[in-house]
Amino acid sequence: MQISGAQMVIEALIREGVDTVFGYPGGAIMNVYDEIYKQDKFEHILTRHEQAAIHAAEGYAKASGKVGVAMVTSGPGFTNAVTGLADAYMDSIPLVVISGQVPMSLIGTDAFQEIDAVGISRSCTKHNYLVTSAKDLPRILKEAFYIAASGRPGPVHVDIPKDVTAEIAEFDYDFAVELETYKPTTKGNPRQIKKAMLAIAEAKRPLFYLGGGVINANAAYEVRDLVHKTGIPAVETFMARGTLRYDDELLISMLGMHGSYAANMAMSETDLIIALGARFDDRVTGKLSEFAKHAKVIHVDIDPASISKLVNADFPIVGDVKNVVEEMLRLVDCIKPQKYEPWRETIKNFDALHPLTFHEDSERIKPQWVIKRVGELLGDDANISTDVGQHQMWTAQFYPFTRPRQFISSGGLGTMGFGFPAAMGVKAATPDKISINFTGDGSILMNIQELMTTVEKKLPVINIILNNNFLGMVRQWQTLFYEKRHSETDLSMQPDFVKLAEAFGGIGYRVETKEEFDAALQDAVKQNKVAIIDVVVERFENVLPMVPAGGSLFNMMLLERKEK
């Protein structure tokens, strides 16, 4: 059929099964918005800032496992979206982001709201396109969805000049994407998998090192199966939280800069790392030359460039984690779980020596208590987003995660302002779950305008501010490494968050005691409205354990023991 470029965008989105688009209109994208107005197949959610549109699409993608879609205009609309693209790129989140562009005839003339969008997005997307003719649009849009979701997922950016959205051309979407130059390897090499299994059988102290790729590959339940059948303990990266249940006997905890003592010690003592969809990030390894010195490495990853990038792999396996783990399960009989009993015992002793915990305070609420308490009250019923900082680490440490895609956070880029819009996207994707955003008094103000979107669209996100009147994580580093010179991190000057929430039509609570917190949370859940719960917490609490940047993983600053 002969339709306009703008209509093609709508048709393509419908055929891709898109039910929600986050975006913000403007001059160059108006033809597409005119078509959005005329259709009723998907919902458009008007965020109040383009950055939030991308984060919402990320939250939506992470919670649902589908491709997230966002739409922005040219120039500032696009540049506002760049942080979101970079965030999605770092955390391998499948997105298709469509931006308007000035008409072809004006490209290169410094036209109003013109910017070289594909030039900017090139380094923070998996792939990008500048569409120069409407006849290319069906192919490009179909490729965009395919590339975003396949292989190692990531954001794809499609920049469409205004005249292309007006141009009429033939639309045909019934074809298979064929990209001669892009064929991700999904099936692991069977011989290599067999060798890896034999190495596991021979190891004395093997350790599963689970990364975000397990969740991206929808492999968490297969991995649970493999962990249980082998009896091998597991550590999770920040991005992998929820892969194993929090109460799984074989889950040690999170490892890395703020990982548990037992997790970091296990990683330092293991003789065989079984890395599944993890990429040996610097926040995980600490000082590379001291990292897991005695260990051989099995590394399973869909992205060949992640293998042997930082840590040499003795058994490199390129493939989809789910596919490879299924293969491993077929060979699991060669492994005798009882063999690792002494190793499991060692790890239990590590954990008994320095358990992941915190000291309660009778005067003030401890931030960690809030997270544990939400876990007790809501547990599996909630999906948990976070912003970036201390509250984010405490959430990863203390929330009792029970399933994959329950925890949504900005890991790679560490984007303050991610949490609230992401939690909105999570709510749109999983309306039957309570959407919680743990945030800080710094982060929440970075996308606070989304109070309006969430109220308007009835997406009841509950924002829980762990308010310490500080830019807490930076303050912690200043305390520890800059002789307490708290440069520009004191956030004592604050808005009245209760009134702020109310001004937008949400509910606000100011909480200073545990009883007040319970009441506020229960009320917010019951009212099912957008809420801010502003919790006054201990100001100078530090996130512990901590491996100082560049230090060895086994050299942790630990929580001081309290005499009983």
């Binding site: 090139r122 130059t181 060949p304």
Partner: protein, 157 residues
């Protein structure tokens, strides 16, 4: 392992808009080194061939190859092991320099005088990059006014 080695890498890419920027952006974004880069379409195909001379540790070279592979329009990457490598240079000499001497040196380096006008003589050589360097060294005394090197191209044996 950490020692820097010189490598010649050929990349076959779809000949489309901005593909060269994708490659060069990758090098600058990840802090890789480009010593020379040549690019031209492969006749009768939709592809182009880039030849990149780079330097880095074994690990870095391995990453360069893998990261290049990850770019969507990249079809193939060759990290050359056993190959023929050639580079071309054009050199402009003042017309009053000794033409016969220059011509003799050119001959020794697989080159010749390709243009002589009233103002200048232009010589061309095509040889291994190291030999081109030597040629430029030897002809320095004839006061070259301008030198242009093409960058290397390579084919696996």
């Amino acid at each position: 392992m950490n020692e820097n080695i010189r490598r010649v890498v050929s990349v076959i890419v779809i000949n489309e808009a901005s593909v060269l920027s994708r490659v060069t952006d990758l090098f600058s974004a990840r802090g890789y080194n480009i010593q020379s880069l040549t690019v031209a379409p492969i006749p009768e195909t939709k592809y182009s061939r880039l030849t990149i001379v780079t330097k880095g540790s074994v690990r870095v070279i391995e990453q360069i190859v893998k990261q290049l592979h990850k770019l969507i329009p990249v079809l193939k990457v060759f990290d050359h092991e056993d190959f023929v490598e050639k580079e071309m240079a054009l050199v402009k000499f003042p017309a009053d320099e000794r033409l016969a001497d220059i011509a003799a040196i050119c001959e020794a380096y697989n080159g010749k005088i390709v243009n002589a006008s009233e103002n200048a003589i232009i010589a061309m050589v095509a040889d291994e990059p190291q030999r081109v360097t030597n040629f430029l060294k030897v002809t320095k005394r004839y006061n070259p006014k301008e030198v242009v090197r093409s960058g290397a191209v390579a084919l696996e044996r």
